[in-house]
Amino acid sequence: MIYQDSKTLLEIRGLRATVNGIEILKGIDLTVKFGEVHAIMGTNGSGKSTLAKVLAGHDAYQVTGGSVAFEGNDLFDLKPEERARAGVFLAFQYPVEIPGVANSHFLRLAYNTVQAQRGKDELDPLEFDDLVREKMKLLDMNPDFLDRGVNEGFSGGEKKRNEILQMALLEPRLAILDETDSGLDIDALRIVTKGVNRLANKDNAIILVTHYQRLLNYIVPDYVHVMEAGRIIKTGDKELALDLENRGYDWVGAEQRAAVEA
């Protein structure tokens, strides 16, 4: 939701990034204020997932130009774990499976690390168990998932729920949801998006990276950005997403090229 006089949370200016020497992001500009929900849409290969990973600090991507300020501080001064503790959260498109690490142990470790950073009390296993079970109810998750290895043998939908469960526990300032809708059936999509909507408030912001408009029926964006070839080529409101759904992506690119030539 757009709030009057809301402060800027994230300021991206001219961001360029490469992977294996190939430039994927070719000058991104994006401003996200507290309370806002931004959708970044685009075809496969447009660079939207790369943007998500660069913001989270994945070391396969090299930042070659531009700047990103997070609450006024240079994001690139921070290692991935420091970004997480500062309030950046990436819900992965393909969360990894980590057999041998109990999900409950992992969740508590992450929770306590972030709590400690915020000067709050850490929870012992029993206290944490109460908290996590309560959060799991919101996502209609079976408590059995606590005893299993992290994402081990989870279905696609269960993995996505586990991501949003982490978001609910860590209460990030900036949540970047990378294709969270992919692999979800309609019931799971409803539950997951309900969970996200409950977490959205005036003290945080959400960036939704998605290929399809479907997700935006459930989480209503304030802004919709279209990415193509490493740039944001069009920004609009939620109506733009519907246009994309009806007309595809080609017309946006054509419109933009025409504007450049004119």
Binding site: A56, P95, G100, F106, A110
Partner: protein, 436 residues
């Protein structure tokens, strides 16, 4: 017993072994005599033998052997820390000798409907049940160490689970090394009759960190529909030699699950031979070697799909630190006509230092055409995607690395069904994998 081997190294290995009295059973005496003959003609394997290419056991030849002193010095307090709370029945052997004072009474097993006793007693009372199995599964024609073990057959563990009997609590067979420069030849025979189920813990521990030789043989026979859970833990001294052969035979629709964990020994070699002898049989074989310094841990497994419609699953993992060396050779045989075989094998190796070495070799010999066989091997460092995932949740590099290294081993340890043993081994993995 006298033994002519024509091999000075073997002569020394044989020194100190107690003179074995003849048994009243002719077949038993014959078995031992055959093994003695065979041991005399087989040579100590060298790295020129294909099966021993990566494992040089010549340091074994430099070890001198002292006569066994007898186990009377061992106190209860020394051994009881190895006991498992969950185990209903326990057999304890010290330097190969059966110790009734540390073992549960044979009556305890009887109350549970089981036969759990030492072999030398059992030979007299259960000779008919033993004869078709003892020395029949673990062949010694081409295996010097099995031949030696069989030549010295005397004490050992016998577990019989009668038809349709479910042993609810595990049976713990504990072999304790107490004497440096000693050689022991532990032996286990498990007969799981049709429709029975049991969990067997085969456990090798030590009271000292000196050099000695453990040369173990286990034979496990599963009847129709039987289910055996076999947990094997090798925690021998860091200077010990541990050589072991295990042979498992599965009858119709029987299920064998094993988890073996190798932590100790300067040089260890474990040969596991599983014969899927009748349709519908299934085996799941998981292994973990966690080694450091100059340890060498070698696992050779062979899973023989002799008939159609059997399933095998294998996951073998090594965590290798220091200048240690891990070897895995996983043979899968699918015999002609063994259609609808379903087999997977995975060898995963984690290197924690730059001076380690891993030799891993899947060896598939497939002679049937309608089969599903998948295998794979990885050798390397921690997966960067897993590290990034953990760091993206706020965990520091060190915490993330430690957690993943621990998890790599814990994936196998978690498959151990006995809580107290699992927790003990989890602690060991934790202690050995965590860095500052």
């Amino acid at each position: 017993m006298s033994m002519v081997t024509g091999n000075s190294y073997l002569e020394s290995l044989l020194q100190g072994q107690p003179q074995l009295p003849p048994s009243p059973l002719a077949w038993f005496n014959q078995l031992r005599a055959n093994a003695v003959d065979r041991a005399g003609t087989l040579k100590v394997p060298t790295t020129r033998d294909e099966e021993w290419r990566f494992t040089d056991i010549s340091p074994l030849a430099k070890l001198s052997f002292q006569p066994l002193r007898g186990a009377s010095r061992v106190k209860t307090v020394d051994v009881e820390r190895f006991y498992l709370d969950e185990a209903a029945v326990r057999l304890v052997f010290v330097d190969g000798a059966y110790m009734p004072q540390f073992s549960t009474s044979p009556n305890r097993a009887k109350e549970l409907g089981l036969v759990v006793t030492d072999l030398s007693t059992a030979i007299a009372t259960h000779g008919v049940a033993i004869e078709p199995h003892l020395g029949r599964h673990a062949g010694f024609e081409h295996n010097l160490f099995t031949a030696l073990n069989t030549a010295f057959l005397h004490d050992g563990a016998l577990v019989v689970v009668p038809r349709e009997t479910a042993a609810r609590e595990p049976v713990h067979v504990l072999f304790i090394a107490t004497q440096p420069e000693a050689a022991s030849h532990p032996r286990c025979l498990l007969i799981a009759e049709s429709g029975s189920s049991v969990t067997l813990v085969e456990d090798y521990v030590t009271l000292h960190e000196g050099a000695y030789v453990t040369n173990a043989v286990a034979e496990i026979a599963l009847g129709d529909n039987a289910e055996v859970n076999h947990i094997r833990v090798q925690r021998d001294s860091i200077h010990a030699f541990h050589i072991a052969n295990c042979a498992v035979s599965l009858a119709h629709a029987s299920r064998y699950r094993s988890v073996s964990v190798a932590l100790g020994a300067r040089i260890s070699r474990y040969d596991l031979n599983v014969l899927l002898a009748a349709e519908g049989a299934e085996c799941t074989i998981d292994g973990l070697a966690l080694i450091t310094e100059r340890q060498l841990a070698d696992t050779h497994s062979s899973i023989d799909h002799a008939v159609p419609n059997c399933t095998s699953r294998q996951l073998h993992k090594c965590i290798v630190d220091g200048a240690a060396h891990a070897v895995f050779n996983g043979k899968i045989i699918v015999r002609p006509g063994a259609q609808h075989t379903d087999s997977t094998q995975s060898s995963r190796n984690l290197l924690l230092s730059g001076k380690t070495r891993v030799d891993t070799k899947p060896q598939l010999e497939i002679f049937a055409d309608d089969v599903k066989c998948a295998h794979g091997a990885t050798v390397g460092q921690l997966a960067s995607e897993e590290l990034f995932y953990l760091k993206s949740r706020g965990l520091s590099e060190v915490v993330a690395r430690n957690l993943l290294t621990y998890a790599f081993g814990a994936e196998i340890i978690d498959r151990i069904s006995i809580a107290s043993l699992k927790h003990r081994l989890e602690r060991t993995v934790l202690e050995r994998t965590q860095r500052d």
